[in-house]
């Protein structure tokens, strides 16, 4: 530890010294390669390419290797990454969800370098929200640089259709359950869900509304009994909400995009999905935010921002450490965040980015950025912020137990078990 601190202090001193060297000299001193490991390809590829282009314009001698492994949420990339890390071949830097997916897997395994020096040099402790810094931290160190922010607890709808059916977006789940029969009578699915993970995604929004932000945090701190009355209430509410959904019909065969399509078509009324749905509707479907689609915080979670964030870290013992540090510096800068996020459809993690610029950010992003600066920030379960990987994986079993039994008691028993086994919440 002492040794490590010494090294990081030394590095910090050297970095500060480097600041006095003219910028061009610094750029020229970097050469060699840098391998960036991520799961951004396809729709998300251009955003990463923009960042790489920006990096190359500053450090033309560095050959950037874009090692992207496709698959949403990194389902495949994370497996490849693990075999590479276990095999002693870490990529120079890799994409990881900020929070427990980073700390619970890699930081506790002592495979990441502490980036506190970088945060101090760049003044990032003031430009990223405190809740986010907490998620990136473990025992006093900060371990990755967040690039973007997505919001998980958003409810999407089609304003024109809602007007047609004569309903309004519900403020609470009780409101939703009250309006549910009306929607069903119109021959419309009140709430559309898709394949397994989107059901978990819905659950975290329902849980957040029943427990509140404090209860949600208490749960992850191990202070809320996972088998107690509150958690059973979560599952009971969730069960009622599911009864108003297409879970018993074709949910399992829908991707999240297909679920979103139902909202646009008007065959379903509401959908709870992360705000990448906004990117999909704007970019792929060509809709105008506020006209083609409407949004609000998912019922009962107004004023709470259930976040997830992509970040990049510095594995221990990489070949091109200096190149990576400059890459991370770029990621955390206003310039880097404003280059990346408009293309990705996310909002910058920095609160001082240029989100007021309507050329860069659309109406949805601007409203999300406003919320990001004001709301209480809590971490997402499904997307690796609040839950470690084992919990995130085993939670699927808990969900299956609930779907098979619809028994809140049996489900919470299982939840209690995985809480303790994974150590995520107990």
């Amino acid at each position: 530890m002492v040794h490590k601190r010494f090294v990081s202090t030394l590095v910090a001193v050297m970095m500060v010294a480097a600041l006095f060297v003219p910028f061009t000299a610094r750029a020229q001193s970097l050469s060699g390669e840098m391998e960036i490991f991520s799961w951004w390809s396809g729709d998300e590829g251009p955003a990463l390419e923009a960042l790489i282009a920006l990096y190359n314009s500053k450090y033309p001698d560095v050959e950037v290797i874009n090692a992207a492994v496709t698959g949403g949420s990194g389902v495949n990339a994370r497996a490849v990454l693990k075999t590479r890390m276990l095999g002693g071949d870490p990529p120079d830097t890799f994409q990881v969800h900020a929070g427990q997916e980073l700390t619970g897997t890699w930081v506790v395994a002592e495979r990441m370098e502490d980036l506190t020096f970088l945060f101090e040099e760049e003044g990032w402790f003031d430009t990223f929200p405190e809740g986010l810094i907490d998620l990136l931290s473990y025992e006093g160190g900060v371990y990755s640089v967040p690039v973007n922010i997505h919001r998980s607890n958003v409810m999407w709808y089609n304003p024109a259709k809602l007007a047609e059916w004569g309903i309004e977006a519900p403020a609470t789940w009780d409101d939703f359950l009250a309006v549910c029969p009306t929607i069903q009578e119109a021959g419309v699915t009140p709430l559309v869900v898709g394949e397994a993970w989107t059901v978990n995604h819905l659950w975290e929004s329902v849980a957040l509304s029943v427990l509140g932000a404090d209860g949600w945090n208490a749960f992850w701190a191990g202070e809320l009994d996972p088998t107690g009355d509150e958690m059973q209430a979560v599952w009971n509410t969730f069960g009622s909400v599911l009864d108003c959904s297409n879970i018993a019909e074709d949910a399992a065969s829908l991707s999240w995009q297909q679920a979103t399509d139902r909202i646009i078509e008007g065959t379903a009324a509401f959908n709870v999905m992360g705000d990448w749905a906004a990117g999909y509707m704007v970019t792929t479907k060509g809709l105008v935010p506020g006209e083609g689609f409407g949004w609000q915080a998912s019922p009962g979670t107004q004023g709470v921002f259930l976040m997830l964030s992509d970040s990049f870290g510095l594995p221990v013992g990489v070949a091109n450490r200096d190149n990576v540090i400059e890459w991370l510096r770029l990621l955390g800068s206003v310039e880097g965040q404003d280059a990346f996020n408009p293309l990705k459809g996310s909002i910058p993690a920095r609160i001082d980015a240029d989100t007021g610029n309507a050329d860069l950010y659309n109406a949805y992003s601007q409203s999300a950025a406003a919320d990001w600066a004001m709301d209480t920030v809590v971490g997402s379960l499904v997307h690796g912020a609040a839950a470690n990987e084992r919990f995130g994986n085993d939670f699927n079993s808990v969900m299956e137990i609930f779907l098979a039994s619809r028994d809140a008691a049996a489900t919470t028993t299982a939840l209690g078990v995985i809480c303790i086994q994974s150590g995520a919440c107990g």
């Binding site: 397994a196 107690g228 994986n393 079993s397 299956e400």
Partner: protein, 736 residues
């Protein structure tokens, strides 16, 4: 013809010579004698007392995780000593619903104590003057009311632990508590006896294997020396004995943990008296959760004799470093090399240059196969017996983490743990999927083959069309069929689009309906019934045949078989209850109707059958073409109808093809991953299969040991299909 005598010939003569026999037989016998001598001298077993850490004192505790999992109820107060509850890091778990709630703890001088109750946790650090002292935690009665969560834990005076007769425990004692000392404690896995406590001493019964192995080697060597055993057999036996001996530390390490656990708990749950487990092997856990074997040697009131004990690691190291293992390795290497030589000689391969060079040419691929297939299978099995990724205290991806062997714990978890619901679903899904996939592919393939065989025009085109799906990747098939089989699209809206009828609403891949549902805890019973019925049938038919022959000798055999059958019956019934499935988790059956044939598999079956039935057609077509027309003509002349020709000529002759098809399709369906992943994704319990579960558990959930266990189960299932096939083909090859 006079043979040319070269080096190899002399070598062959040497293998046949007496000198060879004397040398090898002598080596085996000497190694055996050395093992015998060494095991009686046993200098390596004296683990010096000084090497024992001061805090390595032992108490009998349950595996806390099991206790808490099985035992916790609302309103319970759980006291956990140690860093955390349940996951194997806690030293001690007590559960009580008693109104007074005095809980006595001991074991370490500093105890972080956590008291859990619904929604409430209190942690305090207790300072004990000595591990022999216990603390009494008084939990006020008001807190028993679940509505009142105002939990207070009072720390009372430390009291020295004494036995009922007043003897204070001495520093090296290992104590087994009893209900006399701790009257209000309802401990899981604690000895509930009346005789106080006894001093216990470590003994390892497995050590008897060493002199036994030595004796066997002496006997084998002697028999070989005196020509009562031929070289091949003697060397084979010796090699096997040496293999067991040299692998022994590994077995000891692996199976001393998981398997014996249930044995021990079983005894405790029956409130066995400490006195009643007289000179029995008792296993307890030390504070590091390492199991220790004890033999009860002292009784209440007796003076505790000297106690030799050690942690598991110390013993394991001792085993690894001792001379006997090197001796066993010498015997192993000698035996194996000589066995190879003798076999080569007896097969005439040494003299035959062609065969020898063929062997040399083959050896690189044999070595590669040995490492990359069989070596990795062995590594996977070994991983599945560890706790890699199961222990919170050891991050799965840390470099150089220690992986502790836990025996069959992972397998037991998969079978019984409430959170492993998905694994059990995957087993059942695989069963139904394989069954229907095989039946459908074989019927479809056969019908297609018969149709194509009807000398139709453009046969080649049809053949290509039917075979073509096989050339597509399962991922592509899965994606396209996934779209086709959506509930509100694809096939379901065809009637509407084409004929203007009402669209179908069948949920091909998204159904959650389960037919032929059953409870998981019934499975062992059904399996037992089936197994016992098969066994009884074979015993009965065997016995009956002997009985009928009527000779006295064979009648005795019949009786023996009947007794054996009855014994197995009794054993099997007890087996499921006590060993394989203790079903310590009553929660398992809370999931009502979760197991059975899930109709969402239908969609996947359609896609799989679509893809593979063309292949079966090709197999059958080749088979049908191989049937001589003479046979058909002869049958027609005898007045057979076309149907009868198929029934009595074609189908029986195609039996080997059917077998091949079953093998090929069977292992595809048991290992299936990509098709299901593409059609319904991971985490979809209705259609989950072991391959997907293995992937998510190991590479997403970081539970590598559990994932390896799933992999081993898959390997076992596939080998159920493959091994009988290899066996029959090898037998038929030998026959021909």
């Amino acid at each position: 013809m006079h043979e040319k005598r070269d080096v190899l010939t002399y070598f062959e003569d040497f293998i046949d010579s007496r000198l060879f026999r004397y040398i090898i037989g002598g080596v085996l016998a000497i190694v055996g004698i050395l093992l015998l001598v060494a095991s009686f001298a046993a200098p390596w077993l004296d683990v010096p007392e000084a090497s024992i850490e001061h805090d390595a004192h032992y108490q009998v505790v349950d595996v806390p995780r099991l206790a808490a999992r099985a035992g916790l109820r609302e309103g319970d107060i759980v006291v956990a000593v140690g860093d955390n509850l349940i996951n194997g890091e806690s030293d001690f778990v007590a559960r009580t619903t008693d109104a007074v709630n005095h809980v006595y703890l001991s074991g370490k001088t500093t105890l972080p104590v956590t008291v859990y109750r619904a929604g409430e946790t209190r942690t305090l650090n207790l300072e004990l003057p000595d591990y022999r002292y216990a603390f009494e935690l008084a939990i006020p009665q008001t807190t028993i009311d679940p509505a009142n969560v105002n939990l207070e834990v009072a720390q009372l005076d430390a009291k020295p632990l004494v036995d009922p007769e007043g003897t204070t425990l001495s520093a090296m004692d290992i104590w087994l508590g009893s209900s006399d000392i701790i009257p209000t404690l309802d401990l899981q896995g604690f000895v509930k006896g009346d005789s106080g406590f006894g001093a216990v001493r470590f003994i390892d019964r497995f050590l008897i294997l060493i002199p036994l192995g030595g004796l066997l080697l002496v006997v084998i060597g002697g028999l070989y020396l005196s020509s009562r055993l031929d070289a091949k057999r003697a060397l084979a036996y010796a090699t096997m004995v040496a293999l067991v001996l040299s692998l022994f530390p590994f077995f000891w390490q692996v199976f001393s943990t998981g398997q014996w656990r249930s044995y021990l708990l079983d005894n405790f749950e029956r409130e066995k008296d400490v006195a009643a487990i007289d000179s029995d092997l008792v296993m307890a856990y030390n504070i590091n959760q390492q199991p220790i074997f004890f033999e009860v040697v002292g009784r209440q009131g007796e003076t505790a004799p000297n106690i030799i004990d050690a942690t598991q690691d110390q013993l394991t190291n001792a085993y690894h470093n001792v001379a006997y293992r090197q001796l066993a390795l010498v015997a192993l290497v000698t035996g194996a090399i000589c066995y190879l030589l003798v076999t080569l000689k007896s097969e005439g391969m040494i003299h035959n240059r062609d065969q020898l060079s063929a062997l040399v040419m083959l050896s690189p691929s044999l070595v590669l196969l040995g490492i990359f297939v069989y070596g990795f299978i062995a590594q996977t099995i070994s991983t599945s017996l560890t706790n890699w990724g199961e222990s919170r205290a050891r991050p799965a991806l840390k470099e150089g983490i220690t992986k502790t062997y836990v025996g069959l714990q992972n397998y037991q978890n998969l079978m019984t743990d409430i959170t492993e619901f998905s694994f059990r679903s995957s087993l059942i899904n695989t069963f139904f999927f394989t069954l229907f996939f095989l039946v459908a592919c074989i019927i479809m393939g056969f019908l297609l083959a018969v149709l194509v065989d009807q000398k139709v025009r453009g046969e080649g085109i049809f053949r290509t069309i039917f075979l073509f799906p096989m050339s597509i990747s399962f991922v592509v098939t899965g994606t396209i069929w996934g779209w086709l089989l959506q509930q509100k699209g694809g096939i379901n809206i065809l009637p509407e689009k084409l004929l203007g009828l009402k669209p179908l609403s069948y949920r091909w891949t998204s159904s959650d309906r389960i037919i032929w549902g059953f409870q998981w805890s019934d499975v062992p019973r059904y399996l037992t019934y089936i197994g016992v019925a098969l066994l009884l049938y074979s015993v009965a038919s065997f016995g009956y045949q002997h009985w009928r022959r009527g000779t006295r000798y064979s009648r005795n055999w019949g009786i023996l078989w009947a007794v054996l059958g009855a014994f197995i019956l009794v054993y099997a019934l007890g087996f499921w209850d006590h060993i394989w499935l203790p079903l310590d988790s009553p929660d398992i059956d809370k999931i009502n109707g979760g197991y059975g044939y899930n109709t969402a598999l239908s969609g996947i079956l359609i896609a799989a059958v679509w893809q593979m039935s063309g292949y079966v057609m090709a197999l059958y077509l080749a088979g049908i073409r191989g049937i001589s027309d003479d046979l058909r003509e002869a049958a027609r002349v005898d007045g057979c109808s076309e149907l009868q020709i198929y029934r009595y000529i074609v189908i029986p002759l195609l039996r080997p093809i059917t077998l091949s098809a079953i093998i090929i399709l069977g292992h595809i369906s048991l290992k299936i991953f990509d098709l299901v992943f593409a059609m319904t994704g991971p985490d979809n319990n209705s259609t989950i299969v072991p391959g997907i579960l293995l992937y998510t558990q190991a590479f997403r959930g970081n539970r590598f040991a559990s994932g390896a266990a799933v992999a081993v189960v898959m390997l076992f299932l596939v080998s159920l299909v493959i091994v009988p096939y290899l066996w029959t083909t090898q037998r038929s090859e030998q026959k021909s």
